[in-house]
């Protein structure tokens, strides 16, 4: 639907990442290199994931929800968590506080995800004359994804970078992290198994992302107190 529409959708898809970087103290502490490193780790992780997909998954004839295949996909999806672990712990960063580290890692990760998954369809589709709501919805989805990734990175930093955590909260941390990691499987189940339409799935993602962000925030601040 012409370049105007393309710009609108691109702004909606990639704008929040830039805004997040500029608006928060991330820009002041020059955490750009961290974001780039996280993006690179994401690309490598995705490549490994796709190799595993190609090796272990079968191409299904019908579009329905095949439980065993989806479980396999979910397990391979946990490679994402491994990747985040690597980005948070192993890659050397300049001395920035933990607070900023997980945000920068999450931001870089989500931006790479948005570009790789959404830029090409947006480019090919949104420029045509035909109008569909799809690309605006994809933009909203990428927003939700940003929140998910930052929450997951926060929980990850809690799990691996922080030594003293109140014991009662530990299971909650792991459970929330598990839910976040499994989010792609959940959405694919909704889309294929329950045959939800795209707008409904996107609204679910948006609300879930806000919910999980809230939970993560509470967990994070709860863990903050004993350290101080």
């Amino acid at each position: 639907m012409t370049f105007f529409h393309f710009f609108n959708c691109a702004a909606l898809t990639f704008g929040p990442h830039a805004v997040y970087y500029k608006a928060t103290p991330l820009s002041e502490y020059d955490t750009f290199s961290t974001c780039i490193k996280a993006a690179i780790v994401y690309i490598v992780t995705t490549l490994i994931k796709f190799v595993c997909f190609a090796t272990f998954l079968q191409v299904s004839e019908h579009d329905g929800f095949d439980l065993s295949q989806e479980i396999l996909k979910g397990l391979i999806g946990f490679l994402d968590v491994a990747g985040l672990y690597y980005a948070l712990t192993q890659v050397s960063h300049r001395s920035i506080s933990q607070n900023h580290k997980f945000q920068a890692v999450g931001l870089g990760w989500a931006f790479a995800d948005a570009v790789l998954h959404r830029l090409a369809p947006l480019w090919v589709g949104a420029k045509g004359l035909e109008f569909t709501w799809e690309y605006l919805l994809q933009g909203l989805e990428s927003n939700a994804n940003l929140v998910f990734t930052v929450s997951l990175a926060a929980l990850g930093s809690l799990m691996w970078l922080r030594k003293n955590k109140p014991a009662a909260l530990v299971p909650f941390i792991y459970v929330s992290a598990g839910i976040l990691a499994a989010m792609p499987s959940i959405t694919s189940y909704l889309r294929k198994g329950l045959a939800w339409e795209f707008p409904r799935v996107v609204s679910f993602e948006l609300s879930a992302s806000l919910l999980m962000a809230f939970v993560t925030w509470r967990l994070f601040s709860a863990c903050q107190r004993p350290a101080q």
């Binding site: 639907m1 529409h5 609108n8 704008g15 608006a23 928060t24 020059d30 933009g139």
Partner: protein, 554 residues
């Protein structure tokens, strides 16, 4: 510092990449429909038909839609709802239009055979009138035909609903956009007319060295219509061609055996250029050798013999009192009685100074060869009338009655050839190996009813010409092709078929609203994140920075 510089470089790289990639255009339509362009031609230099091919406008459902800009809209009209007089008024007032899309009723896939019901006849009449009006007018905008399938119907319904609700499709309100991307049509430089002929030599008596008399059987095979890609002309003149081929088949059987070979040569001719004053026939005759011309006893032209009517006309240009004409007529009448058909004579004088040639036999008469046209049509048609357009569908041809008419011609010719005038002998009796073959006739009628045959667009090597040539070669000797150029009274332009892309576009207003929404979302997000992470004071500090600096400097 380094970080800032890096950001600058990256920013510029991104801009360059974006500009480069933006120059690639990708098209992707919701649906693609086959459309057939209206004919574009010049008659004696005067431009006729639709003069444009490319189309890129919004769709609208009628001429009276409030708020629609007709010069930038394509009007979609089902042919059955066209009011020709009001359309004519619009065109005569030089109304500007973005384009016209005419919807033809969904074609049924039954082959002919018969009655057809009243609605078919109505559709036929409407189409004939519309085609005649279209062909004789000039349109400065593209005119296309399409078949009305479910998708097209739903698009038209939506467009009508929007128009009725006062929301016509324009650039600011969005709606359906119809795009045909083709280049403008070019003149066809050398339009070729191809005549196909076949020769069945007769048996000369012992010691007789003179040339045997020849009877010619001729039919023109090409058509003309408002949409050249749809002009399949089943009755005009697919029926004549099928009759000629069946006659060739029957007589080739008779002539295969010298014992049954008649003392007449038979010349079969499939001519082109019928709609254009039988221009191809004229050229064919001009190339006749003098001996052949002198030996020609008479020529029978077949034109439109496929209807269910029992009544046939024999059109002649020699006066009816002429003895030869009377002979031929009585031969036909004798056979016709036994077949429940009637043949009536119709005389039309030729006017040599008038270039209009209404019947094919007139071209023979102008060359002083006796000829007649057998047809179910009573009146001579005007230029570009009755030329086998869209309205002339396969269903208009009645095979059962047509088989009787073929028998009429075959038996009459056989009686003349074998000198059996006045007797009641039946040469092509059913159950013999000389029986007529309805299957043969039907298969040719089906093929011709599917093949558009407008001569300038056929070229020299069109499959239908090759097929007709091969068929005549099978039954006759010396089957040959003759290529001529159509005379310059008629000039044709190409581009007969295209694909229509239908897009559903949103309005520019919508784009603005979305831009506004996304922009405000990003600004709010920025503000929220700023305040939550750095605090309200810092945020307000952004606005207070300028004055404080001023204070400091002073």
């Amino acid at each position: 510092m380094r970080g800032w510089w890096r950001q600058q470089v990256m920013g510029q790289a991104v801009v360059v990449m974006v500009v480069m990639v933006m120059s690639m255009v990708v098209a992707d339509a919701a649906a693609v429909v086959d459309v057939y362009r209206m004919i574009q031609y010049d008659l004696r230099g005067a431009p006729m038909g639709s003069r444009r091919a490319a189309l890129n406008h919004h769709a609208t459902s009628g001429f009276d839609v409030a708020g629609a800009d007709l010069s930038r809209a394509v009007v979609i009209l089902p042919v059955l709802e066209v009011n020709i007089s009001s359309l004519n008024e619009f065109v005569q007032n030089k109304g500007l239009l973005g384009g016209l899309l005419l919807l033809l009723p969904q074609r049924s896939h039954e082959s002919g055979g018969g009655e057809g019901d009243d609605s078919d006849e109505n559709v036929g009449k409407v189409l004939v009138e519309l085609e005649q009006w279209l062909v004789h007018n000039t349109f400065q905008y593209p005119v296309y035909f399409a078949y009305e399938d479910d998708y097209v119907k739903s698009v038209l319904q939506e467009v009508s609903a929007n128009d009725a609700a006062g929301r016509p499709a324009t650039a600011t309100t969005g709606g359906y956009k119809l795009v045909v991307s083709v280049s403008e049509a070019k003149k066809i430089a050398t339009p070729t007319l191809t005549n196909i002929q076949g020769w069945l030599p007769g048996l000369r008596a012992e010691g007789d060295n003179s040339m045997l008399p020849t009877i010619a059987i001729v039919a023109s095979y090409d058509t003309f219509g408002a949409a050249p890609a749809l002009a399949t002309g089943s009755d005009s003149n697919g029926s004549g061609v099928a009759m000629l081929l069946e006659l060739a088949r029957l007589f080739s059987r008779l002539y295969a055996n010298p014992n049954t070979r008649g003392p007449y040569n038979l010349l079969f001719g499939l001519t082109s250029g019928g709609p254009y004053n039988y221009n191809g026939t004229q050229n064919w005759l001009r190339n006749f050798d003098q001996r052949l011309r002198e030996s020609m006893e008479y020529a029978l032209c077949l034109n439109s013999v496929g209807s269910s009517s029992d009544h046939m006309w024999l059109h002649v240009s020699k006066p009816p009192e002429n003895a030869f004409i009377k002979q031929i007529l009585s031969e036909f009448e004798n056979v016709a009685e036994g077949l429940d058909l009637t043949v009536e004579l119709k005389h039309k004088k030729i006017n040599i100074s008038n270039s209009r040639v209404a019947w094919e036999h007139e071209q023979f008469s102008r060359q002083r060869i006796t000829a007649a046209t057998l047809s179910q049509l009573e009146e001579a048609s005007e230029l570009l009338q009755q030329t086998g357009g869209i309205a002339d569908s396969r269903r208009a041809v009645n095979e059962t009655v047509m088989m009787r008419k073929i028998k009429l011609v075959a038996e009459s010719l056989a009686r003349r050839i074998y000198g059996q005038q006045g007797t009641q002998v039946e040469v092509f009796a059913a159950g013999t190996n000389l029986a007529l073959s309805p299957a043969y006739v039907r298969s040719w009628l089906d093929l011709l009813g599917r093949t558009p045959r407008v001569a300038p667009f056929l070229g020299k090597n069109a499959p239908i010409i090759t097929a007709l040539h091969k068929e005549l070669a099978q039954y006759t000797k010396d089957a040959s092709l003759q290529h001529e150029t159509l005379d310059s009274t008629f000039v044709f332009y190409d581009n007969t078929k295209a694909q229509l892309n239908v897009y559903q576009v949103a309005s520019v207003t919508f784009d603005f609203i979305v831009a506004l929404a996304v922009g405000s979302y990003l600004i709010i997000l920025f503000v929220v994140l700023f305040i939550t992470t750095k605090g309200v004071d810092d945020f307000l500090g952004v606005f207070r920075k300028a004055p404080s600096r001023k204070f400091k400097s002073s």
